[in-house]
């Protein structure tokens, strides 16, 4: 997926500038203090949603510790568990929680469960083309556009007219974009928005979040989902409601309050032996991620920072 990286490089600049001013990190977050004796290599394999973020963290971390080399590969959350099990990576970023079947395989090899750390907040956003007049949707409608099982109980929606648009949009077919099945975003959307239903076979599966956003940006009748950090000027984020309730924008406040229905945590999984202390390099990297500097990078990349209390909890667990 060299190409994916190429696209990412191109897209990266856009969202970073857009949202940078909109959200502030929690002022109570601790400032990261460098310690001595941190060097070595870290490998990260996993989520594509977290790919840009991991790259930015790695750059900033290497700036503090010049002897640290970090390699990042982001094909999808489902690639993280096999990488942690095989030992090809020390960090496994994931945009969904691990499934029990994945934990089973890890546990079968190591005897203990993988260690989970939340590193950022994300509003899984539903995007449409920027010229689409629609502003918000109900999750029922989203389900009706993407799902073949319609677990939310709406009638199937094939055209924009059925989704409430009029004029020339009325009889236009909806062109749905989604992620490939390796993606945690795919899994999360399926579990939460479709209530564990199935996607329609006509939802186009794209190999990366940026490909989804690009696809929608060049398809006037397109709709799709990905992490909010991938927002570009070519697309528009929709507000969402549940069961006909109030519409909520995908903002930090709505994510923390739980009002925005597709808010989620992004994770990094590590292989931590419960009877041994975590190695310095991994621990310092994660502490950096959970620090003020780390969370400022989150904001810069268009995602939402963790509240200080939550970050402190994770740091405490790391130090244990």
């Amino acid at each position: 997926m060299k190409l994916a990286k190429w696209i990412i490089a191109a897209v990266l600049v856009g969202p970073a500038l857009n949202i940078a001013t909109a959200n502030k990190v929690d002022p109570d977050l601790p400032v990261y203090e460098p310690v001595s004796g941190v060097s070595g290599n870290l490998d990260s394999i996993g989520s594509d949603t977290l790919n840009n973020l991991m790259t930015l963290w790695a750059e900033a971390f290497s700036a503090i510790y010049p002897n640290v080399h970090i390699q990042i590969e982001g094909k999808g959350s489902s690639t993280a568990p096999p990488a942690l099990i095989e030992g090809t990576a020390q960090l496994g970023p994931m945009s969904r929680a691990m499934k029990s079947s994945e934990i089973d395989k890890f546990e079968a090899k190591f005897g203990y469960k993988p260690f989970q750390i939340g590193v950022s907040l994300d509003a899984l956003a539903v995007f449409v083309h920027k010229d689409n007049p629609i502003d918000g949707l109900d999750l029922k409608q989203v389900d009706a556009m993407f799902s073949s099982t319609l677990k939310r109980g709406a009638d199937p929606i094939e055209t924009w007219g059925q989704a409430g648009l009029d004029g020339e949009w009325t009889s236009r077919s909806i062109s749905a974009y989604g992620r490939n099945s390796a993606s945690g975003t795919y899994g999360f959307f399926k579990s939460v928005a479709l209530l564990k239903g199935d996607f329609k076979s006509t939802v186009k599966e794209q190999p990366g979040s940026s490909a989804v956003v690009q696809g929608i940006g060049s398809d006037l009748y397109g709709i799709g989902y990905s992490g909010i950090g991938y927002k570009t000027s070519g697309v528009k984020v929709l507000a969402l409601s549940v069961d006909g309730g109030e519409m909520y924008e995908a903002t930090l406040e709505n994510c923390i309050s739980g009002d925005y229905p597709l808010a989620r945590l992004l994770y990094i999984y590590i292989n931590r032996n419960p009877v041994e202390k975590l190695d310095t390099l991994t621990r310092e990297f994660l502490k950096f991620v959970l620090s003020k500097q780390g969370q400022e990078i989150v904001v810069k990349d268009g995602y939402y920072p963790l509240p200080a209390a939550i970050a402190a909890q994770y740091v405490a667990e790391l130090e244990k």
Binding site: P81, L150, S171, S181, S201, K204, Q214, D219
Partner: protein
């Protein structure tokens, strides 16, 4: 050698050679012989190596896919005497290391390794009451106890692994009791209890009372949840649903996100209740209405949207919740019928990892899989069980007999969801309204039912290949004929390598261009494309005809093989005109009445959807056909051109000398003679198109659909492997299924190539050039 040289050099030797031939001269040098012998063996070994390598790959793939078709292996491991008289329930931690048995008045935890004493946790029973029913949620380790005085209580068993210094693990258990509660003042004994918990809601349903005084009560609890935790469940409402029922309730189940209740009544009717504000009855049905058999058991399969029924007549059927198109409601419908289970089940256990379940009665135990309707394992029971449990990791079966002894069975069934039916047959999956061929391998949660039909992928492979060849073959072959027969040889030396360079375009670049550049352009200009497809061949023929009408003194101005200087500019002009005429054609031919506004709009996309009844996708087969065509054209072109150029000049000369025109010679002599080569060119092009991956991954939506529509996408076998292999855990079902896809691809190409080779031989024999 040296001698020979000497002999040749002198005039003496020349003379002697002319007189008596020197026998040494005809002897092959030792060096040549040695090289010859070496090369014979080397080539032999090399050839053998190639054959072995191919067989090696074949057997490797075979070894990867064979486990998919195996059944379950179950072997008895051990048994532990617990000493609990009249046990009510067996439960276990996910590791099956510290299971518990619920006795009359206590939980008994037993360490399987025998290193610890039995741990007993007493239950504070209400005065004078006993436990009249229990419900157990294995995944969340919730136990609900119903008492004979109408009270109920839930308890959560918290299992935590503790690690010693040397890394050994022991499981600790802790019980978290909720307060006792009562269904709205009822004092009747709890006859049947059911619990369902979702992140926002918890429902506890019970049948209370005995004889004909039974009632159905439901308590609903709610909690507010955010990303960082939950507020804790609070009682929201209490409902008495006795009036909804037609007859005496026998059994109640709660499921599907705490959204549904299923009640079995004594008259063999099953009622489905949906929580929509309050509880509404939305369906009543008798699962075995046709056979008239009596219901023996009813239980949820993992995911709580499918019910497994057995009847005393031995029927075993699965009913799933799906949206009925006529009512628009999600109701139960029969989706599968399994092999009979004689006598009906009295014991049921479900896996918490997949859609497997166990049916048992006093005599037989049977492990079945709901998706494939497959019986994985069946055996006679040595002792009658009271309860059966499938361990959390689907690796053990725990049977609790009536004497309180736990029997451990090791279960080895790594691929229960696989099988011939799963890959190649229509299956009625959970939530779908009809049996279908579907590919959807992964979900975000464990109760997802993998859909592993290879049929859409095989169809997708054929579809992509078909559209690629539809575009590539005519262009490549005509170009080959033209360059080999009509073009000036000087130019051919430039053009042929030029086209061959096209083959070096990386397919990922083609795919990228197709997806982000060509697809949006083509989307709006389909009428232009249609016009161009008609105009170019049409105008070429027309220009040729007109050219022919011109007097010879004008035609002679253009030397033979340079006619294209006239053609190419004309065709470019025609193409440009056709491209710009597209919107005009659209506005004339592709008008459609917009049902919403009543006005007539010219739009090909809308027109197509009305005309073909299928969606118009931006990432469609046309785009892939164009892009793949680019990859395939150079290959077909260069091989076909070689074949055409290899036709002996003697034949063409003879033909031309006998007065045939250039076209006649080409059509009647050259093409038939070269047909075997042209055919191979097409087959090699086909091979390339079938295996092409990156273009399809990038330029289509990878939609695993089952149609041959030109304006919809596809997902090919090879693209599927590329997209899903990174996420497939080594040795898992998906991993092996992807190998099966590779195997199918291998077999398909093998067949196509064999047939092609046979046809090529026949063609070659038919048009053999006589020496």
């Amino acid at each position: 050698m040296a001698d020979e040289k000497d002999q040749n050099s002198g005039p003496d030797s020349l003379r002697s050679r002319s007189r008596v031939p020197d026998p040494e001269r005809f002897r092959v040098s030792k060096g040549t012989l040695r090289i010859d012998a070496f090369m014979t063996r080397f080539i032999f070994v090399g050839g053998l190596g190639v054959i072995f390598a191919i067989f090696g790959i074949f057997f490797f793939i075979l070894a990867e896919i064979l486990p998919l078709f195996g059944g379950a292996k179950v072997s008895e491991e051990s048994s532990i005497e617990t000493g609990v008289a009249e046990p009510l329930l067996i439960g276990a931690d996910e590791w099956s290391e510290f299971p518990f048995v619920l006795g009359k008045d206590a939980f008994h935890f037993i360490d399987v390794s025998g290193s610890r004493e039995k741990k007993e946790v007493p239950i504070s029973l209400p005065e004078g009451a006993f436990i009249s029913d229990v419900a157990y949620l294995q995944e969340s380790q919730y136990v609900a106890l119903g008492y004979s005085n109408g009270e109920y209580q839930t308890v959560r068993i918290l299992y935590t692994p503790e690690f010693a210094e040397d890394g050994t693990r022991t499981i600790e258990s802790r019980l978290e009791w909720d307060k006792k509660a009562r269904f709205a003042g009822s004092t009747e004994p709890v006859a049947d209890l059911a619990v369902s918990i979702s992140p926002e809601r918890k429902i506890i349903a019970a049948i209370l009372g005995e004889g004909d005084r039974k009632s159905l009560q439901v308590d609903t609890f709610v909690q507010k949840r955010s990303l960082f935790g939950a507020s804790g469940f609070k009682l929201d409402r209490h409902e008495d649903l006795t009036d909804i029922l037609s007859a005496d309730p026998v059994q109640v189940l709660a499921g599907a996100n705490a959204q549904y209740l299923v009640i079995r009544c004594s008259d063999n009717t099953v009622h489905l209740l949906e929580r929509d504000g309050g509880w509404q009855k939305i369906q009543s049905f008798n699962p075995f209405q046709k056979s008239g058999a009596k219901l023996a058991s009813m239980d949820f399969i993992k995911g709580d949207v499918s019910l497994a029924f057995t009847s005393t007549g031995g029927d075993n059927a699965i009913f799933s919740l799906y949206r009925h198109a006529d009512s628009g409601k999600r109701l139960f419908g029969k989706t599968k019928e399994l092999d009979p289970f004689s006598g009906g089940a009295t014991i049921f256990a479900k896996s918490s990892r997949n859609k497997a379940f166990i049916l048992a009665n006093d005599d037989i135990i049977s492990l079945r899989y709901a998706t494939t309707a497959d019986v994985r394992w069946e055996a006679d029971l040595p002792v009658a069980f009271e309860q059966v449990l499938i361990s959390g990791k689907f690796d053990r079966i725990l049977g609790l007999d009536k004497g309180g002894e736990i029997h451990f069975y090791r279960l080895a069934d790594p691929h229960p969801e696989a099988g011939f039916r799963a890959f190649f047959a229509k299956i009625w999956y959970e939530g779908q309204d009809s049996p279908q061929y579907l590919w959807q391998s992964t979900g975000g949660s464990d109760d997802f039912e993998p859909k592993l039909s290879l049929i859409p992928l095989i169809v997708g492979s054929f579809k992509g290949t078909f559209y690629a060849l539809l575009f590539a073959v005519p262009i490549a072959l005509l170009a080959a004929i033209y360059t080999s027969q009509f073009l000036s040889p000087r130019l051919k030396r430039i053009i042929k390598p030029g086209i061959e360079i096209m083959a070096s375009l990386p397919s990922v670049v083609l795919g990228f261009l197709g997806a982000l550049w060509l697809a949006p352009i083509l989307e709006d200009r389909i009428p232009s494309v249609i016009l161009i497809c008609l105009a170019i061949p049409g105008s070429a023929v027309l220009i040729g005809y007109l050219w022919n009408l011109l007097p010879i003194r004008i035609r002679i101005l253009i030397p033979k093989g340079w006619e294209f200087v006239i053609f190419v500019p004309l065709i470019v002009v025609v193409s440009w005109v056709a491209w710009s005429m597209g919107p005009l054609l659209e506005s004339i031919a592709f008008r459609i009445e917009d049902p919403a506004t009543g006005t007539s709009v010219a739009d090909f996309r809308l027109w197509w959807e009305g005309f073909a009844g299928s969606q118009f996708q931006q990432r469609n087969s046309l785009v892939v056909g164009f892009m793949m065509g680019f990859a395939v054209i150079p290959i077909i072109y260069t091989i076909a051109e070689d074949a055409l150029s290899a036709v002996p000049i003697s034949m063409t000369s003879a033909s031309l000398a006998l007065g045939a025109s250039r076209w006649q010679t080409t059509a009647r002599i050259v093409i038939p003679t070269a047909s075997a080569g042209i055919f191979s060119a097409c087959m090699i092009g086909l091979g390339r198109a079938v295996g092409e991956t990156m273009i399809v991954v990038m330029a289509t939506g990878n939609t695993p659909i089952l149609d041959f529509d030109i304006f919809s996408g596809m997902r090919t076998l090879s693209a599927n492997i590329a997209v899903e292999l990174p996420e497939a855990p080594h040795g898992g079902t998906l991993y092996r299924t992807l190998f099966l896809g590779a195997f199918v691809l291998f077999v398909l190409t093998f067949f196509v190539n064999t047939i092609a080779e046979m046809m090529r031989h026949r063609l070659r024999d038919r048009f053999k050039v006589v020496g």
